[in-house]
């Protein structure tokens, strides 16, 4: 093996672009490994860990780009570097304009003075400063960046509230504002349901289900997972809920979050009780009866939150897209060829929901992100027993793109699970929408076929599709791709997990 590299000083690309290109080039014949990244501490560590570090990297800054390839021979490595450069060059071209892109938020604002939203996905250490600039210029912020400290979050949200500007985040992956999906969000029709959520895939699952049930939304406001913590005090949840309460287009309000801190819950309930509109609450893992006792409509899961919101928004009853009988019919005759369940999720909240429903049935269940009652996996890269894994968690995404964007690791893992004689039932999610991979179903099916061929076995497989028929991926095509490969397909995570329950009960 040989290592070839090139340094491009003062050349900056965003991490997703670099990780995706690195991952694509790694698939070329003769390539063993690639590190395509800015010279950050993390990338330096990765290069050292992979024994690819070169003395020429000493003294570089996070504004310098490294393309480093390990391949079977020098010619192959050099050709891969050329390929990376070619792909990067195509990314740098400003689409539809000969004008060079602006190099700062201020320059961008000069080009679009009436911009009212700043979407920030820069490395976390720079995110708070960029957010402050945006807020001080009177613009709302969607803050996709993670690694923003809670102290910084408090500071920017306090500023946002003082100016009555949204700070959606940090680590906020999904929002639909005034009909515009931002970052990872689905194409959802306009309607009269307003949502506030501290859960990205939770918000995608509920908004997509609302759309498929024939209803629509006014706003889907992400607030970041820590908004209802004691330290942040629910600043954005309270501001967004108040605005939805005053919004004449919003008839029903939906709140999605992990259970808030006790002190925040009191303030929140006091605020919500002053609102005359119907409010549906799903505090993931909390007792619905306690919510109902406060006078609100409590949901039991994400699908249920969507159904209840649709009922209240139309004064008509809605049913799950698949009835219990249809799920039972899907499970009839399904035989598990191994004892254990394996869940490979790209959506964190969906992974959480599956654990919550299945743990009481299977008893010992492991996860890299275990909920109460589940076990922490001793090795997240190797499954034993029943496992439900969030592949979007930091364990798997440090230095790599999220599995909704880059299917490489999930494909590798599903191939491995399919070949494991202990794996009898494999569940996974296919999250559609803007920002997500354009053919996740195709990528998963290819990996499954490879695994089945290598191990000469076919475990039971089930997938749920989180998305709408208006999403860029073509919902029906994704569904057909999965079904043709013998995979059972469900419209929601809850339906898929109920199917899994039936299969596990039968094979006990």
């Amino acid at each position: 093996m040989v290592v070839s590299f090139i340094i491009k000083k003062q050349t900056y690309f965003d991490s997703v672009t670099l990780m995706l290109i690195g991952s694509q080039v790694k698939k070329l014949p003769g390539i063993d490994n690639t590190v395509v990244g800015m010279c950050t501490d993390y990338n330096i560590d990765s290069l050292k860990r992979l024994s690819m570090y070169q003395s020429a990297f000493d003294g570089l800054t996070p504004n310098d780009l490294i393309i480093c390839i390990r391949a079977s021979d020098k010619k192959t490595a050099d050709a891969a570097i050329t390929e990376v450069e070619k792909r990067l060059a195509s990314r740098k071209k400003p689409s539809g304009s000969a004008e060079l892109p602006p190099s700062s938020q201020e320059d961008a604002a000069a080009r679009l003075p009436d911009a009212n939203m700043v979407l920030i996905s820069v490395p976390g250490e720079y995110a708070a400063a960029e957010t402050e600039k945006a807020l001080n210029a009177g613009r709302h912020v969607m803050l996709f960046s993670d690694n923003v400290s809670i102290e910084e979050e408090l500071r920017i949200k306090t500023l946002g509230v003082s100016k009555e500007l949204l700070v959606m985040g940090p680590d906020c992956g999904t929002a639909i504002i005034n009909g515009t999906p931002l970052a990872f969000a689905n194409a959802v029709r306009p309607g009269n349901i307003g949502l506030v959520a501290a859960s990205g895939t939770g918000l995608q699952e509920v908004t997509s289900t609302i759309h498929r049930l024939g209803c629509g939304i006014t706003q889907a406001i992400g607030v970041g997972g820590r908004d209802l913590s004691e330290k942040i005090g629910g600043k954005m949840t309270l501001m967004a809920t108040r605005a939805l309460a005053e919004d004449p287009a919003t008839r029903v309000i939906v709140l999605l979050s992990k259970p808030p801190a006790e002190s925040v819950l009191k303030t929140l309930y006091a605020e919500l009780k002053g609102i005359s509109k119907k409010i549906v609450i799903y505090f993931i893992g909390a007792d619905p009866k306690a919510i109902e006792a406060e006078g609100f409509v409590a949901a039991n899961n994400l699908e249920d939150a969507a159904i209840k919101a649709c009922d209240l928004s139309t004064d008509k009853q809605h049913k799950p897209e698949l009835s219990e009988a249809q799920i039972a019919e899907a499970a009839a005759g399904c035989k598990m060829t191994g004892r254990f369940l394996r869940g490979l999720y790209s959506g964190g909240t969906l992974c959480d929901e599956a654990q919550r429903i299945l743990q009481p049935l299977v008893g010992e269940l492991s996860s890299n992100t275990p909920i109460k009652g589940c076990k922490k996996m001793s090795d997240v890269y190797s499954s034993t027993g029943h496992c439900i894994i969030d592949l979007g968690d930091d364990d798997f995404t440090r230095g790599k793109a999220h599995p909704m964007i880059d299917p490489a690791y999930r494909a590798e893992r599903i191939e491995k699970e399919v070949a494991d004689p202990d794996a009898g039932l494999i569940l996974f999610d296919v999250v559609l929408g803007y920002g997500s991979h354009l053919d996740m179903a195709g990528e998963m099916v290819e990996a499954i076929k490879n695994g089945c061929k290598k191990a000469n076995r076919q475990p039971l497989l089930a997938a749920c599709i989180c998305g709408t028929h208006e999403d860029p991926q073509n919902y029906e095509q994704q569904k057909t791709t999965l079904e043709k490969a013998g995979i059972k397909v469900f419209p929601t995570n809850v339906a898929m997990v109920k199917f899994a329950q039936l299969c596990l009960e039968r094979n006990k």
Binding site: D14, L112, N178, P472
Partner: protein
């Protein structure tokens, strides 16, 4: 007021992941993508000073506006 923003056309400045801007443009959303890079060549000390100056400028601007 936040509620006054509801219903308005969203116009976006994108900082960071370029594909987010591509998706917005495909939907016909007016978007300017910024060729963002760490300020001050990644030098943390100079960045902290620049942030202080920017915050001070913003306070001066607000104070002038309030007069």
């Amino acid at each position: 007021m936040l509620k006054d923003f509801f219903g308005k056309k969203v116009k976006v400045i994108n900082l960071g992941i370029a594909s987010f801007a591509d998706d917005l443009r495909k939907q016909g959303v007016e978007t300017v993508h910024t060729d963002w890079r760490p300020p001050a060549g990644g030098n943390k000390k100079i960045q902290a000073l620049l942030t202080k100056v920017a915050n001070w400028q913003s306070k001066v601007k607000s104070a002038k506006g309030a007069r």
